[in-house]
Amino acid sequence: MSFETELKKLNVTEGCNRKCEDCEKYFECTSPYKEYFKEKGILQFIKENLKTVKYKVVVLGGKGGVGKSMLAVNLGAGLAKRGKKVAILDQVYDCPAVPLMLGVPENARLKIGDKGLIPYSTEWGVDVVSTGLVLGKDEVIIWFHDMKRNATEELLAAVDYGGLDYLIADIPAGTSSETVNILKFLPDVTGALIITVPSGVSQNVARKTIYITKQASVPVIGVVENMSDTECPYCHEAISIISRGAGEKMSREEGVTFLGRIPISLRVCESLDDGEPFVAKYPQSDEAKLMNKVIDAVIKHCENSQL
């Protein structure tokens, strides 16, 4: 890879203390010095620890409540159903929902072994690492940036993932702390899945996540539009609960693949409440069929990227 880029501004700024690991402007910085960051400290441990992980996929949304965790859980369960070894790394520290969505019992806790933390194995064949498996439901986390960074480093460097085909990182809303951390500390991300909802007002945020993956040189696998059209159970008129089609329009404008729409339905909601991913529970439903298309796209992207 060549490091030649257009010099946008002089690299020396007053604020630069050469601590790239803790810099907000990391992806904007054009200084070649930042490449050294990859060779020092914790990143070496992370690389060593993740040597046995084949593909790393991040699920991003930018906006909250668009279904990032839902997508991560179903992607995980779907891949596991096809015989892959999968783990989900839940980056949502404040309010982790992944354990609930996979039906992990409330009192389940992570254990620590000789080689580090041991991910919790769920009945769906997906391993989970989450702060939900460390804290009780009444414990409120207040972590500022440094603590979140430390947690991300820890969960990447000190967890005994074993041999994995896919590591899926579920990233919370926003484009700051957690997003930057994972894109910085997870080496060689294979691809990013972007999820959005159909309303126009939400697209600004989704666009920003696409920009940030570009800045971080992570390829985008595609965009999924969640909470899409359904029909009225009384008059069977096609309805769009939160507007329509803006996700597809946005992905066309940004030049990324549009993977399809997941209709909003009681079934999706109930499957999450019950902790049973719908790809495994209702494999014949429309939602699961679409999810399988997404999984095909992920597998195709990952396997091609290795060549």
Binding site: D22, E24, K25, F27, G62, K63, G64, G65, V66, Y93, D94, C95, A97, L100, M101, D138, V140, I141, I142, F144, H145, D146, M147, K148, P172, A173, G174, T175, S176, S177, T179, V180, V197, S199, G200, V201, S202, N204, V205, K208, Y211, I212, Q215, C232, P233, Y234, C235, E237, I239, S240, I241, I242, S243, A246, S265, L266, C269, E270, L272, D273
Partner: protein
């Protein structure tokens, strides 16, 4: 026991304590009474001065993302403004601010600096609302700010804005219980209380619960819980049906012993008005959702005035 006295649960001196309370993750856990000096330090004295003429301050939190915090903030503010109040909306969501779009001023208005600090943008609806948002500074740029920058921005928005005389300040918080939520609860002087917005599924209540507990931890009154996206009213036949299992919000309110302010169903006109940039309470006052929004505004006002 005297009201100011509390049982000492642990010794306050910690190895790590550098007495920079304004930047402490454990501010709300800390028992050291000196922490209140934080209000006298740095810019907090300014915030108290600048916000002195705001009668009531309410935050809209949710813990979880995408539950409709911004939609509720915008429409609640509009409902209050339609009742003749002077309202300011402060958008604390720096990364993905949607408030300017919902008011239809995205890309059209900008924040300005005046002699007395930042001058808030005005709405174009003729209701005299003020809007302060990151989206009025950086409309299209990606914002990557870590904790320190966020805190500085929160301070700037609280201590260096020319608010003037207002009846209500409505603060829209981003998801999560860390940086932004914590900064605001720590810095805002004399908050009346917080409102938690949630959605019906059981799986969403964990986040709502944590957000509510955070407010309690910060010593704020929890004014109530709103359940958004509670059913859908078909635009064609007018019948209501559920697309998510109902009642999670009410259950949570009962469990935590706070008031349930009401539920808001979805309607095609609601989504349309958000995208288009006019709050639905103003654009479609006859809509059943607008009716419910106004009821919630009245209940909330009751709850706020109860304190006095």
């Amino acid at each position: 026991m005297n009201q100011d006295e509390r049982e000492v649960m642990n010794i306050n001196v910690e190895l790590r304590c550098d007495h920079k309370c304004e930047n402490c993750e454990r501010f709300f856990d800390c028992q050291d009474p000196r922490k209140w000096e934080v209000y006298k330090r740095r810019r907090m004295a300014n915030a108290i001065k600048k916000m002195a003429k705001i009668k009531h301050k309410v935050t809209i939190s949710g813990g979880k993302g995408g539950v409709g915090k911004s939609t509720v903030s915008v429409n609640l503010a509009t409902a209050f403004a339609m009742m003749g109040k002077k309202v300011t909306v402060l958008d604390q969501d720096f990364d993905g601010s949607t408030i300017p779009r919902m008011f239809g001023i995205q890309g059209k208005a900008k924040l300005k600096y005046g002699a007395k600090g930042i001058i808030p943008a005005e709405d174009t609806l003729g209701l005299g609302m003020q809007i302060i948002s990151m989206g009025l500074v950086y409309p299209d740029d990606v914002v990557t700010m870590f904790h320190e920058m966020r805190r500085a921005t929160t301070e700037e928005f609280l201590a260096n804005v020319d608010y003037g005389e207002r009846d209500y300040l409505i603060v829209d918080l981003p998801p999560g219980t860390s940086s932004d939520a914590c900064n605001l609860l720590q810095y805002i002087p004399e908050l009346d209380g917080t409102v938690t917005v949630t959605v019906p599924p059981v799986v969403s209540q964990l986040a709502a619960r944590k957000a509510t507990l955070l407010s309690a931890k910060a010593g704020c009154k929890v004014l109530g819980i709103i359940e958004n996206m509670s059913g859908y009213i078909c635009g064609n036949c007018g019948k209501e049906f559920d697309f998510m299992k109902k009642g999670g919000g009410k259950g949570l309110a009962e469990e935590l012993g706070v008031r349930f302010l009401g539920s808001l169903p979805l309607h095609p006109e609601v989504a349309e008005s958000c995208d288009e940039g006019t709050p639905f309470v103003l654009k479609y006052p006859e809509n059943p959702v607008s009716e419910k929004m106004r009821e919630i505004a009245h209940r909330l006002e009751e709850e706020i005035l109860l304190k006095e």
